[in-house]
């Protein structure tokens, strides 16, 4: 018993010794790295002291440039509209940003506009959740089973190139309500990118990691959960973000159907009523909401990918 514990202590010392070698002359890279990477807690402390300063130094100027680029475009547009610029492209009937801004102010003061947005958000939410759940399940099945792939792939190849607008007649004929037709069209738009990216990610599974997991006693389900899905996650997340973007522009097509609400409907309706500023408000709202939702998807998924961040970068 005594000799045993002594042996253990000796080994412990030896181990501590090897791991904490000072990075002196000709130090092994191993020792260097352990010295330079002090335990993670300390490191994050040092970093969290100045994130704002770091942002200003590294990202600040770049965001400034991006904002300036947009401002320049708006200024050009204002000039073109005010002076009735017409040389092949005609700005005579295009309301200036100032006019659009005033119209937007009026819309924001009322209630209708928000109802349109809410309806669209609701449709996108329903369609997107269905597309993500079904898309990931189908994608994993296809990536894991040749059978599933052979059965499903022909449908995807055939249906994917069909643009959302082309589905409108069928959607109206097949589905009971306007709402369900619009949701269906939006759903289809989001579905394919999610499926294809999931398949791609699953097929990239690292065989060595699967073997490591098997030799550690993992079952097939455990391998799916702990190796295949996390490995496919970067690709799946990319698919989710693309799917969100596609969902929004499919929604616009779908809302041609609707006679009631929705930001797509708002835009089409403004066109028929010749309300030019409203058309532009509708367009920009769709663009803004699409971008915002895509950003939310990326941010929401980033905890799933935090292992990819290396060292200080994020």
């Amino acid at each position: 018993m005594d000799s045993q514990s002594n042996a253990a202590i000796r080994t412990a010392e030896a181990l501590v010794d090897t791991s904490a070698k000072p990075s002196g002359t000709e130090a092994t890279p191993d020792a260097c790295v352990s010295a330079e990477l002090s335990p993670p807690e300390e490191k994050s402390q040092v970093q969290s002291r100045t994130p704002v300063m770091i942002w200003f130094r590294t990202s600040g100027p770049r965001y400034l440039v991006r904002i300036m680029a947009l401002v320049a475009a708006v200024l050009l547009w204002e000039l073109a509209s005010d002076n009735g610029f017409s040389f092949y492209v005609n700005f005579e009937n295009i309301p200036a940003p100032s006019v659009v801004g005033a119209a937007l102010g009026a819309e924001l003061a009322g209630q209708e506009f928000y109802l349109h947005i809410l309806h669209s958000l609701e449709r996108v939410a329903i369609a997107y959740v269905m597309a993500v759940v079904l898309g990931v399940v189908i994608g994993v099945a296809m990536g894991r089973s040749r059978w599933a792939e052979d059965i499903i792939l022909p449908y995807i190849e055939l249906l994917r190139p069909i643009p959302a607008v082309a589905w409108i007649p069928l959607a109206i004929l097949m589905l009971p309500t306007e709402q369900s037709s619009i949701v269906f069209i939006t759903f289809l738009g989001a579905l394919f990118p999610v499926i294809l990216n999931t398949v791609h990610g699953v097929e990239q599974t690292n065989g060595l990691l699967v073997r490591a997991a098997r030799s550690l006693g993992a079952s097939r389900t455990a391998i799916l959960w702990h190796v295949v899905l996390p490995g496919a996650m970067p690709s799946i997340v990319a698919g989710l973000a693309i799917g969100m973007g596609v969902a929004w522009f499919s929604l616009l097509a779908g809302e041609i159907i609707s006679g009631q609400y929705g930001i797509g409907y708002y835009t089409w309706n403004s066109y028929t009523l010749i309300q030019y500023p409203q058309i532009i408000i509708g367009m920009l709202t769709i663009g803004g909401l699409g971008t915002l939702c895509t950003l939310l998807v990326r941010k929401g998924c980033s905890p799933l990918l935090k292992w990819q961040a290396r060292g200080g970068r994020s």
Partner: protein, 292 residues
């Protein structure tokens, strides 16, 4: 205070490993490997390719053997058949009398590189085996911590693998394989991708750990110094098709230290292996030239 706690913890682990070892088969030690008349043939585009030919190998429980041979001679293939990844085309592989049919947690594997789960922290990687064995999350975590301190990486339990150096990653890999208390540890050129100094440190580290565990180790390498320094026995394989052409006892005293590398006994063993390997490497080149 902390130090003694850690040591107590480690002793508990080792005791645990002994009782588990005994519970496997009463009276018998675990980790006896027997490879009998094994041929391994792969179907390739150019027809069948014999990777291992008529291999016979008996490894006693607690023995440390090295498989040494030129590149492409079938070392990994033979080891993979012990691991249960590659079924022998004929012959039989048994562990403690039971035929190997699939990989299992009784045979820990350490791969050459990049085999940690990159999305799991160091601790989660090591806790994975115990979790798969049905141990609760808390116990799995404490097993993981124990084995991480065994390899000197307790401070990095929450780091992700891609923030560690190659040597540190391999130590995590060793801790992960050991956390299942395997009776056999299979290591396929685990230090092959490391620089010379780190490799030497890792070898000493490994021997320290093995001295406590005393499980059976099969270690694949083509570094002769490494084979002589580590093993009780060196099994030399011929160029393709891989046959076992020599079985050399390494009767150097343990514990071993770097000073051993310059001793006459070490040199003599090294020379013996060198001659065998040189001949085999020449053969391998000639064959590859013919094939190409």
């Amino acid at each position: 205070m902390n130090e003694t706690l850690m040591n107590d913890n480690r002793l508990a682990v080792l005791d645990h490993s002994r009782t588990r070892a005994k519970s496997g088969k009463p009276g018998a030690e675990r980790g006896r490997i027997s490879v009998r008349d094994v041929d391994i043939v792969f179907d390739t585009a150019n027809g069948p390719h014999v990777a291992v030919k008529n291999a016979n190998l008996a490894v006693r429980p607690g023995e440390f053997i090295c498989l040494l041979g030129p590149s492409g001679c079938g070392k990994s293939t033979l080891m993979n058949s012990i691991a249960g990844f590659v079924p022998p085309s004929s012959g039989e592989v048994t562990i403690d009398g039971e035929a190997v049919t699939e990989p299992g947690p009784d045979r820990g594997m350490v791969f050459q590189q990049h085999s940690l789960f990159p999305w799991k922290t160091v601790k989660e990687n090591v806790a994975f085996g115990p979790l798969m064995a049905g141990v609760g999350q808390n116990e799995a975590n404490s097993v993981a911590r124990t084995f991480l301190s065994l390899v000197g990486l307790a401070a990095f339990e929450n780091a992700y693998p891609n923030t560690l150096s190659g040597g540190m990653q391999q130590r995590v890999g060793i801790a992960r394989a050991l956390a299942n208390y395997p009776s056999v540890l299979l290591m396929d050129e685990p230090f092959g991708a490391l620089d010379a100094q780190t490799r030497v440190m890792m070898q000493e580290n490994l021997l320290d750990i093995w001295r406590e565990f005393r499980n059976t180790v099969v270690f694949v390498t083509h570094d002769i110094d490494e084979a002589v320094f580590l093993s009780d026995r060196i099994v030399v394989m011929s160029a393709s098709p891989g046959r076992i052409i020599a079985d050399i006892d390494v009767k150097l005293p343990r514990p071993r230290e770097q000073s051993l590398l310059t001793s006459p006994e070490f040199m003599a063993l090294k020379r013996q292996c060198l001659d065998l390997i040189r001949q085999e490497t020449l053969n391998a080149f000639q064959q590859q030239n013919k094939a190409g």
